[in-house]
Every structure is written in structure tokens, then in C-alpha cells.
């Protein structure tokens, strides 16, 4: 198995080199056995020729014995010498490295042939084969024919063996190549699929807005896909950073709107303290001890009120890392309403809050959800310039295990044509008064909570936003 710390390009090159080596080895063996078969065929040809010559020589020998024809002996010697020359010359090439045709057999054959030719040559000189040698000549002729036939048979068998061996080798090596091919293919397939699956998961997370999970993945990339995965992770980190910035800008935009309400909200306790102090000073002699105590108590209560307003505002504006806690969505709604309470009052908007009983908790970053809700409330207030009614309802969708908040106003409503665009960044109907970030940031926040935000609106009648957030499973059964 390859080490995991290798680039895909390297792996493919290694696989290709391995395949090339295997093919070269197969070609080499193929070439060797082809050469062997060729040499064997050459040997067969020579031995075949020898066989024919031997038959002619035996015929000449027979002619002599039957008709005492001396010229046939001349013919025998000529053929024999010629054959001997050929065999002697090809001895090296035929014997070396060829199984089945041993040096000994060949030597015996050559020796017998020479002896046979010499005997006949001797006979030609004395113009007759001496009767004492007749038996040996006949025997030699017979032995030579048999030896040659045996050799021919053996060589033929050997050639057949080489050819079938080559065929087996060829099929086997094709099989090996095929198996290696399949193994490599499987390996790359699994390897790539495995890596791509990781990437696919990350891309899915990015598209779902779960940037944090993707961004926190850090590892040193070893191959091209891991480099791409790393790039996605970097991109998610960058996106998350941008989203944080966007979140903050959206928050600051809401804050700008909140400020006017807050100014009024701060103005009241400040005025109260101021009035108490002035009354205390100008009526000091007329006031009893209880009055004076009560006044100071009131001053304390009013300063606490200021502290609370400032704290709420700071809490809202502070940039924090997302922290999920189990909370009651109803409480988050109440707290958010508190932030815009004065805004509602001065805009003559009457609020109607309904929170269902026994709601399961939700795991959310409360300040972020607060940001979403404040945004929806401010939008609702701004849609009701002449005042109106704001219905806020918190309930449970048992079928989908979601806790939902609906924010319904009786304002001017949203035109059907622009309704699909309202969650787009920088889309605003408030011209210079809006940044176009509020709803897009809200959308991002709810996505990160695996929730949904949807809108229904009718021009002239009002708009309803619905935010759904997955309920936390409670361990106790029903």
C-alpha cells in the first residue's frame, strides 16, 4: 500500500511505472520464447534435411548391396560429407541452450555419421565393402536413421512445448496485467472517492452555512484533493470572518435605530433623578425624614434603571463568538421585546405576546437570536408609521420538532415582486435609512442554527415573519 502522504500525481506516476515494468518483463519473456521456438524450428529443419539425406544414403547403401553398384557409394559419401559439414557447422547454434538436444546425443549422431561415411570411403578405395564390415555398415545406417528420427520427434515435441508454454505465459501475464489494472483502478477509485467524499461533506456544510465546522478543520495537505479541501476550509474561514463582520454591521445598523428609542428610554430616569434632586434641594426644609429617605431610594432605583438600559445595549452591541446554550425561546423573545419597548411605545404600536406553555428549550446563541428578533421588531415598527399592532407568538411544531416565533405586523406589507429579494444582502426598501443587512444577516444567523426563516406578506395588510429553530430533545419521555 502506498503511504498516505503522497500526491495523486506521484501515485499515478508510480502506478504507470509499475505497469510499464510489468509489460516490459512480459515482452522480454515473450521474445525469449519466440527466439527459442525459432531456434527449435531451425533445428527441426536441419534434422529433417538430415533425415531425408539419411534415407537417400540408405537407398544408395541398399543399391550397392543389391546390385553392387559402386557409383551409388560415391553418391552416399557426397551426401554424407555434405550433411556432416552442415551438422558440424550448426552444432554450436543447435546444441547451446536448447533443452532436449543434448551435446552427447548430437556428438553420438555426428560420430556415427562420420564413421558411416568413413567406412563407405574405405570401401570405395578397395572397390567393395568387405564382408566383415557389411554388418556394421547396415547397423550404422539403421542406428543413424533411428537416432535422427528420435531427435526429430524430440525436437517437434520440444517446439510444441515451447509454443504451449508461450501461450500459457501470454495468458497468465495478460491476467496479471488485468488484475493489477483492476487493483490500481479500485485503489484510485476508492482513494479518490474517499477524499472527494470528505470534500463533498465540507461543500455541503459551506452551502448550509455551517462555516465554523468547516473553518476549524486544519491539517497539512498531502495531495491535490486535500489541497482543495484545505482551500475550502480556508475559504470557509474567510467567509466566516466576513460573516462576522456582516453580522456586526447588521447589528450596528439595528443599534442605530435602537438609539433613538434608547435616548428616550434614558431620558426618563435621568429626568426623574434630576427632578428628585431639584425638589430635594428647593423643598429641603419642608421635607420630612421619610420623604428624604424615599427620594434617595427613588434615585437609587432610577440609576439602576439606567444601568440596566446601558447593560442591555452593550450586551446587544458586543461582538461575541457564537455560544450555544439551552434556553427558552420565549425568554429570548421577551428580552428582545424589552429592547424595543420604548420604540414600540413612541411609535404607537401595541404589542400582543403569546407564548405557548411547556415549550422545549432550544440550543441557540441568545444574543444572535435577539439580534434577529430586534431586527424583525424594528422592521415591523417601521412598516407601521401610523402605529398599529404587533402580534408575537411562540409555539411548537411537534411534527418537525421545531419551536417557532411568528412576528406579525399590521403595516404596509411587502410588494410581491420584491418579496423574494428581501433576504439578499444590501437589498433595502428604506433607501438611505437602511443598510440592507438586517434580514440577510438574520437569515445567516438562523441558517447557522439549522433553523428556517420565512415571510408572508400582503400589501396594505401586513407582514408575518416566521422563525423556526430545532427543539432540543428532552430525555424524559412523554
Amino acid at each position: 500500500m502506498f503511504r498516505t502522504a503522497m500526491s495523486i500525481r506521484k501515485r499515478i506516476i508510480i502506478a504507470a511505472v509499475i505497469q510499464a515494468i510489468i509489460i516490459c518483463v512480459i515482452c522480454f519473456f515473450g521474445y525469449v520464447s519466440f527466439q527459442a521456438a525459432l531456434a527449435k524450428l531451425q533445428a527441426i529443419e536441419i534434422i529433417d534435411d538430415l533425415n531425408i539425406s539419411l534415407l537417400e544414403m540408405r537407398k544408395a547403401e541398399k543399391n550397392y548391396f543389391l546390385y553392387k553398384d559402386l557409383s551409388s557409394l560415391d553418391e552416399l559419401v557426397t551426401i554424407g560429407q555434405k550433411r556432416y559439414g552442415v551438422l558440424e557447422a550448426s552444432r554450436a547454434s543447435l546444441v547451446s541452450g536448447l533443452p532436449g538436444l543434448s551435446n552427447k546425443d548430437y556428438g553420438e549422431l555426428l560420430h556415427n555419421l562420420r564413421r558411416y561415411v568413413e567406412l563407405i570411403q574405405g570401401a570405395i578405395q578397395i572397390k567393395a565393402i568387405p564382408p566383415a564390415q557389411e554388418g556394421e555398415v547396415r547397423k550404422l545406417g539403421h542406428t543413424l536413421t533411428e537416432q535422427s528420427a528420435t531427435l526429430l520427434r524430440r525436437e517437434r515435441k520440444s517446439v510444441n512445448d515451447i509454443i504451449s508454454y508461450s501461450i500459457i505465459l501470454l495468458i497468465a501475464s495478460l491476467g496479471v496485467v488485468f488484475i493489477i489494472q483492476v487493483v490500481l483502478w479500485q485503489y484510485f477509485f476508492h482513494f479518490l472517492i474517499q477524499e472527494i467524499t470528505i470534500m463533498e461533506g465540507m461543500i455541503k456544510m459551506v452551502s448550509e452555512g455551517r462555516l465554523r465546522e468547516v473553518a476549524t478543520r486544519t491539517f497539512s495537505p498531502h495531495n491535490e484533493i486535500q489541497v482543495a479541501v484545505q482551500a475550502i476550509s480556508d475559504m470557509a474561514r474567510e467567509l466566516e470572518k466576513r460573516e462576522q463582520e456582516l453580522l456586526q454591521s447588521g447589528k450596528l445598523a439595528s443599534l442605530g435605530v435602537l438609539i433613538s428609542g434608547v435616548a428616550h428610554e434614558l431620558g426618563n430616569p435621568l429626568n426623574n433623578i434630576s427632578l428628585i434632586a431639584q425638589t430635594y434641594l428647593s423643598l429641603y426644609d419642608l421635607l420630612g425624614d421619610d420623604d428624604k429617605k424615599n427620594y434617595m431610594g427613588d434615585v437609587y432605583t432610577q440609576s439602576e434603571r439606567i444601568k440596566k438600559i446601558v447593560e442591555n445595549l452593550l450586551d446587544f452591541s458586543r461582538q461575541k463568538k457564537q455560544e450555544l446554550h439551552d434556553v427558552q425561546l420565549g425568554d429570548v423573545v421577551k428580552h428582545s421585546l424589552g429592547l424595543v419597548a420604548n420604540q414600540l411605545k413612541i411609535s404607537k404600536v401595541k404589542q400582543h405576546l403569546t407564548i405557548a406553555d411547556d415549550l422545549p428549550p432550544v440550543s441557540v446563541d441568545a444574543p444572535q437570536i435577539q439580534q434577529v428578533l430586534v431586527n424583525l421588531f424594528i422592521n415591523a415598527i417601521q412598516a407601521m408609521e401610523q402605529g398599529g399592532e404587533l402580534f408575537i407568538e411562540v409555539g411548537l411544531d411537534r411534527e418537525h420538532d421545531q419551536v417557532w416565533v411568528s412576528v406579525q405586523d399590521t403595516g404596509i406589507g411587502i410588494n410581491k415582486e420584491i418579496l423574494p429579494n428581501i433576504f439578499d444582502p444590501f437589498f433595502t426598501t428604506k433607501s438611505t435609512k437602511g443598510t440592507g443587512l438586517g434580514l440577510s444577516v438574520s437569515y445567516g444567523i438562523i441558517q447557522q442554527h439549522h433553523g428556517e426563516i420565512s415571510v408572508e406578506s400582503e400589501e396594505g395588510k401586513g407582514t408575518t415573519f416566521i422563525v423556526k429553530i430545532p427543539a432540543q430533545r428532552q430525555d424524559k419521555g412523554d
Partner: protein, 120 residues
């Protein structure tokens, strides 16, 4: 007979302090933190001076001013507000507001204004 003043503000402390101060000046003072109840009181009886907050739930200071102008054109109205827009100010002037005090209110100035309004 003492001059009758009605003070309307949803902040109880404003009502209490105004009452204390103005009573010390010898006026008869009635206070309301609920502007709806205050409006009913204005409808049923005559006051010499109305001091009202501008931003209030249900019935605003502007509604009070309009109602007073309608029912008792001779009664003067002094308005207090923590947060006044130019539009609201212009509207109040057109409705013949007598005086306008931003919060925090300076009691001496308010006393002066009350005195002047009641022609003392």
C-alpha cells in the same frame, strides 16, 4: 381660590415631584400616570393649566393638547418631552402650545413658566 393644575406623565416620579413643587407654590395639583384617565378628567372638569408629557402610550401629549384646545381654548398647555422631533415641535406650535420643556426639566424654569401661564 387656588389655581388648578393637571400633571400628566407616565413616569410616577415626574408626577410626584411636580405635585410637591407646585403645591409648595400654592397650587392645587392633580396628577395622572395614565393619559386616558387624564383625558377623561379634562373632559369632565376645567383646569387652569395642563402640564403633559409628549410620548405616552395610547393617548399622547399631542392628543391631550388638541382635546384641551377643543374643549377649553383658554387653558394653556405646557409640554414635557425626553425626545422631541422637529415635526412634533412644529405640530405643537401650530396647536398653540404655551411652553415646551425638554427633559431633564429645570424646576425653576418650569415654575417661572407656570407662573407666567397663569398670569400671576
Amino acid at each position: 381660590m387656588a389655581k388648578r393644575i393637571i400633571v400628566i406623565d407616565d413616569e410616577k416620579i415626574v408626577c410626584d415631584m411636580a405635585k410637591k413643587i407646585l403645591q409648595a407654590e400654592g397650587y392645587e395639583v392633580e396628577t395622572y400616570t395614565d393619559s386616558e384617565l387624564a383625558l377623561e378628567a379634562i373632559k369632565s372638569q376645567a383646569f387652569d393649566l395642563v402640564i403633559t408629557d409628549l410620548k405616552m402610550e395610547n393617548v399622547s401629549g399631542m392628543d391631550i393638547l388638541k382635546e384641551v384646545n377643543r374643549l377649553h381654548p383658554e387653558t394653556r398647555v405646557i409640554m414635557l418631552t425626553a425626545y422631541a422631533t422637529l415635526d412634533a415641535t412644529i405640530e405643537a406650535i401650530r396647536e398653540r402650545i404655551y411652553d415646551f420643556f425638554p427633559k431633564p426639566v429645570k424646576i425653576d424654569e418650569l415654575k417661572q413658566s407656570v407662573k407666567k401661564a397663569l398670569g400671576d
